[in-house]
């Protein structure tokens, strides 16, 4: 089976416009979460993580006309552009596929009718077409909208395409923006934390939402690989709780099956995991469920973190930017502490990372869970990890 190399990546969040800026903030335990009272986002003061709009305009104006693209399109195009600048692939050729993940796409166009964009752009496929047209891609893109697991699933599907040899390169890009739509919905669920979120902590009481975009270029072309010991995708899977459309399983069964199937595809066992990049939304039920799934998979001892207290829950971007952080944890041999975690607050004794730690990391497991009962898991490791 062809090896699926992670060639290049980009993260755009409140913490910066490149993967390095973001990962440096993570290493310094800097959070991008701030309180907002912007009435276009929330009717009550709320903590959230927002991309710097001025910088977005400045950066985008270097490559395109800012008025021609929505906020999310600009984020995605900038993110992909940075990845392409790191490599020599040509996205206008037939051997490169784009896969997108987003939950709500250009939802701001529906909320604020006062704009010049064609309303067709509210459609997720139209968003993808617009981004692909910027890069002159001749290939029909794939779009995944699977709630909070979209990003991890998009990565798994990218690998399937590469292994089928249909494409040599796949660019996976995920993103979502913060408008009033998503915050008001989570507020109506009473699921938004009054303070910055506290994953796995005893006093956690909800999520902090964030916005951003992330892109990974995967390829089977060895010539694109720059690292001596590159990170490769090994396996992924996706399952459903079949329990409730908005609440996670009480037992963690669905997430456990996703972990089991991802490890099976990767031909790995629970002995082969140095680090788990958890979902850790900091809702009482999600984190409890995750702890049960991790315990069920007999991974209690494995260091696990949630990065949600750094850049919030970025929905369609989350799985992708958190996998990128995992890739950088492997490259830099550092585990990032879970900001907000002080007192253990889940029933299973899982090993939540409390302080940054420099230690050899050869691989990681990424997990995600979301509305609709979806769960996803993906496993990455160094090429020469075995």
């Amino acid at each position: 089976m062809d090896t699926v190399f992670a060639i290049a990546d980009n993260i755009i969040t409140s913490l910066g416009f490149t993967s390095n800026e973001n990962f440096n903030a993570l290493k310094n335990n800097i959070s991008g979460i701030k309180q907002t009272t912007d009435p276009k986002i929330t009717q009550v003061p709320m903590y959230t993580s927002i991309v710097d709009s001025e910088r977005l305009t400045t950066e985008f104006s270097k490559i395109g006309n800012v008025d021609d693209y929505t906020r999310l399109e600009k984020l995605m195009i900038l993110s992909i552009n940075d990845v392409l600048n790191q490599t020599k692939i040509n996205p206008s050729q037939e051997d490169t596929l784009f896969i997108f993940s987003s939950t709500k796409g250009n939802i701001d166009l529906l909320e604020n009718p006062d704009h010049d964009f064609d309303l067709e752009r509210i459609n997720l496929w139209a968003l993808a077409d617009k981004v692909c047209a910027f890069f002159k891609s001749p290939v029909r893109p794939v779009f995944i909208s699977n709630a909070c697991v979209s990003g991890v699933t998009a990565i798994t599907i990218a690998a399937q395409y590469l292994r089928s040899k249909k494409y040599t390169n796949v660019i996976v890009c995920g993103g979502d923006i913060i408008s009033e739509f998503t915050p008001s919905g989570f507020q109506s669920f009473k699921a938004v934390s009054e303070n910055p979120c506290k994953p796995f902590d005893a006093s956690r009481n909800g999520i902090t939402l964030g916005e951003g975009a992330g892109t990974i270029l995967f390829s089977t072309n060895k010539e694109l690989v720059k690292d001596e010991n590159p990170v490769v995708f090994r396996g992924g899977a996706n399952t459903n709780d079949a329990n409730h459309i908005s609440g996670p399983s009480r037992t963690g069964d669905g997430l456990y099956y996703a972990i089991r199937n991802a490890l099976a595809e990767a031909e790995k066992t629970n002995k082969d995991i140095d680090y788990i990049s958890g979902h850790g939304t900091a809702t009482p039920y999600n984190d409890e469920m995750e702890s049960k799934a991790i315990a069920w998979a007999e991974l209690n001892h494995v260091p696990v973190n949630s990065l949600k207290a750094y850049w919030g829950h970025t929905l369609g971007a989350a799985g992708i930017i958190e996998c990128i952080a995992g890739i950088h944890s492997i490259k830099e041999n550092v585990l990032i502490k879970t900001i907000g975690y002080n007192e253990h607050g889940v029933s299973e004794q899982i090993n939540v990372i409390k302080e940054n730690k420099n230690t050899e990391i050869k691989n990681f497991l990424k997990t995600a869970s979301g509305f609709g009962g979806s769960n996803a898991a993906a496993y990455f490791s160094e090429l020469n990890a075995d």
Partner: protein, 216 residues
């Protein structure tokens, strides 16, 4: 994704097409919208016609309703699927307009700050994969489940992806198809796909050329 010739082919055990004027099951027009009822009334008459009994249906949004009804119709007579390993049964769907109908209704509840009433019961239906969740809950299916957004129903894409999942061993059976709902139009195309059974003579291959013939 292309599959090599050594792989087992999958076949369609049953399929259902719902259009504004009729319900087609395995090629036969089984129910027509003779009174040209609007969506809600038409779906309710289909629900009754097929003796569906699932009170949660009445809480669903329109996209979930049409997807759910199509899935119920293809599961009738195929109860054996529920006896297999639930993690080996997938639900893979395509959709064009995501949840635009419910998104618009939800926006109505937040646009006027004097009359501000966002509801979790509406908000939860603003994700297109929730229709998959509803089908999974109903049937206790726990396998691969992904919602793809595509401008139009894309038989090539769907068959390739489901074949890849089947051949990877992740699933043995799958509900696969399309459901879309907007204020002005709606449609569902849903297949129950299983690995070929040797003793079955009239397998309809889950291949784009066959599917295109079925939905013409």
């Amino acid at each position: 994704m292309p599959t090599n010739s050594l792989n087992m082919e999958s076949s369609i055990s049953k399929y259902c097409i719902i259009k504004p004027n009729e319900v087609i099951v395995d090629g036969e027009i089984q129910f027509t919208n003779a009174e040209e009822s609007e969506f809600g009334a038409f779906m309710k008459s289909v629900y009754k016609n097929y003796n569906i009994n699932y009170p949660k249906y009445f809480k669903m949004d329109n996209l979930c309703k049409i997807a759910f009804i199509a899935s119920e119709i293809i599961m009738q007579g195929n109860e054996h699927i529920k006896e297999t390993d639930p993690v080996k049964v997938g639900v893979i769907m395509q959709n064009s307009h995501s949840t635009i109908d419910t998104d618009s209704k939800y926006v109505e509840t937040i646009i006027d700050k004097e009359n501000y009433f966002p509801s979790p019961a509406v908000f939860v239906y603003t994700l297109p994969n929730v229709m998959i969740g509803e089908i999974c809950i109903r049937n206790k299916f726990q396998g691969e489940n992904t919602c793809f957004i595509s401008k139009e129903f894309d038989a090539e894409f769907l068959t390739e992806y489901v074949d890849a999942l089947m051949n990877s061993g992740k699933i043995d059976a799958c509900i696969a198809g399309w459901a879309d709902y907007t204020e002005s139009d709606f449609s569902a195309i849903m297949f129950l796909v299983e690995k070929n059974k040797e003793n079955k003579k009239d397998n309809i291959s889950f291949k784009p050329e066959f599917i295109k013939r079925l939905i013409e």
